[in-house]
Amino acid sequence: MTRKEILISGFGGQGIVTAGRILGHASTLQGLSAAMLVSHGTETRGGYVRSQVVISEEAIDSPIVEKPNIFCAMSQAAYNRFFGISRNGVILYDPDLVKRIGPPSPTYLAIHAGAAARELGIPMSANMVMLGAILRTLGMISDECMKDAIAAISPRFTELNLMAFEAGYRT
């Protein structure tokens, strides 16, 4: 059973959907099956956003993430809402955005995504830092497919996004 469930959630404008698209595109290039469901409030910025990504070597039946192997929390509200279903997975969170974390049962990894992106001078690319950290935890997808996917989805900012992605991968 190779099915992996990844949940990325935060608020509008953080690139939650873009991160999911790149992950799905890279999986497809890798020859895997991928599916993503996106849900969000009606606001375009500042509202709640969630990307549910499923990656598998086989065809995917249910596209719903029920027990994420990886949960990436990009806001306190997202963390509060989904940490309960993530107890058996790895929770990646940005400590600048998620200040209160709960019981120590799941594996937590603090990723200073916002700070790392600001340090590189590209604060908008915090999602790419997180993506690097997700890939490091997930495996399954080659570096090359990931880079091709970043170039395909964000052709204008490929170089900058790759820098942010690598910073996340190294953490």
Binding site: G24, T28, L37, S62, P63
Partner: protein, 388 residues
């Protein structure tokens, strides 16, 4: 083959282009707006026309006009727009005008919630207009890849049966993203089992033969002996009539051409049905994805369960439910629509599990199956559902 990671909306657009669609008229509505956006980019590239209509009624009238001018036309909407098609939909059925209508269902009634999936138009797609005396053809994809292939098939059936075909999708299918393989030429398209029927023109004079035959080319105004294609009952030659005998002949043709060639339309998928399972889950569209996972897990746990997924909804495939079993219809509504047809067509015990605006979970379905295995009744309190 091109490999992409795309939405169902993008897949429908590419399916239409692959099928030779050269007119799209539409009015934006979540979750189908992206189809209009994509069409406005793609059709000018392929020599087609994109028309931004002032509302949904106009959209379908424009499609009818284009089809009568020899174009392969499509429109796309959600429930609140689909209901506005009632008038022109009937015209397209009655005058036998081929075109494709996409409905990405969202939760209702009326405007409901834009970003939540629904399955409220199961019966509306059977009776999309007034007056009776007709059958409809409705296909239902459950994935991004099927959104592509079924759009091609919808055009294929529309041309061969000379009738509007509805692609009844839902918000999760059209807004959902997935890996998508796109053929790069007609050979690759054919290798996927898909065919394109080019538009042909009826030479006249018998536009409406009093038979069940299909593959009768449609009227193209100005290109033949002059079928009127008005919204009145036509004579065989396509002129308006008030003769009851003509009316009977025409009504029988509208029904007979579909029912007597239904082998070309009927589509379904059976999983774990070979060993006559005691419990059979029935669904269409995105709930069937979760059911696929649930049935596999329930089987591993030793439960006698299988599932039938309808890929074509209308005409309804009664023969799939001839076997005596306990049927559980799973739908994205809590009033129960598909379940009523299953109850009518089947000889077994029929249950219903409905969710409103979100998919049931795998665990929830397994619990329901487990309960039915024990001979329990599904209780509305326990399941947050209505038992039909």
């Amino acid at each position: 083959m091109r490999k992409l990671f795309e939405t169902g909306n993008a897949a429908i657009t590419e399916g239409a282009v692959a099928a030779g669609c050269n007119l799209f008229a539409g009015y934006p509505i979540t979750p189908a707006t992206e189809i209009a956006e994509n069409m406005s980019r793609r059709l000018p590239q392929t020599g087609g026309f994109y028309v931004q209509a002032e509302d949904e009624t106009a959209s379908l009238h424009i499609c009818i006009g284009g089809a009568l001018g020899g174009l392969k036309a499509m429109t796309a909407t959600s429930g609140p727009g689909y209901v506005l098609f009632a008038d022109p939909y009937g015209w397209a059925i009655g005058s036998e005008i081929p075109l494709v209508i996409v409905n990405s269902q969202r939760v209702g009634p009326i405007s409901g919630i834009t970003g939540a999936p629904g399955q409220g138009e199961f019966y509306l797609s059977r009776y999309p207009t007034h007056g009776g005396n007709f059958e409809t053809i409705v296909l239902a994809p459950n994935s991004v890849q099927e959104a592509f292939s079924m759009t091609v098939e919808a055009f294929y059936l529309a041309e061969r049966f000379r009738t509007p075909v509805t692609l009844l999708a839902d918000q999760l299918v059209t807004d959902g993203w997935a890996s998508l393989s796109l053929p790069e030429n007609e050979t690759e398209l054919n290798e996927m089992g898909l065919k394109v029927v080019p538009r042909s023109i009826h030479p006249g004079p018998i536009f409406y033969p009093p038979t069940d035959e299909i593959d009768v080319p449609p009227v193209v105004l100005g290109q033949n002996t002059g079928g009127a294609c008005s919204d009145w009952t036509p004579t065989e030659e396509g002129y308006d009539t008030e003769d009851i005998e003509d009316q009977m002949k025409h009504a029988n043709r509208l029904i007979g051409k579909i029912l007597s060639h239904r082998d070309l339309i009927d589509r379904h998928e059976s999983i774990y049905m070979d060993d006559d399972p005691e419990i059979v889950l029935v669904s269409y569209g995105s709930p069937s994805r979760v059911i696929g996972s649930a049935v596999k897990r329930a089987r591993e746990a030793g439960m006698s369960v299988g599932c039938i997924r309808l890929k074509s909804l209308w005409p309804f495939q009664d023969k799939l439910f001839e076997r005596r079993a306990v049927y559980l219809a799973v739908e994205l509504n809590v009033d129960g629509q598909l379940v009523r047809e299953v109850a009518r067509a089947s000889r077994g015990e029929v249950h219903f599990l409905g969710k409103c605006g979100e998919l049931p979970r795998v665990s929830e379905l397994i619990e329901a199956v487990d309960c039915l295995c024990d001979g329990c009744e599904l209780k509305s309190k326990k399941w947050e559902t209505v038992v039909w």
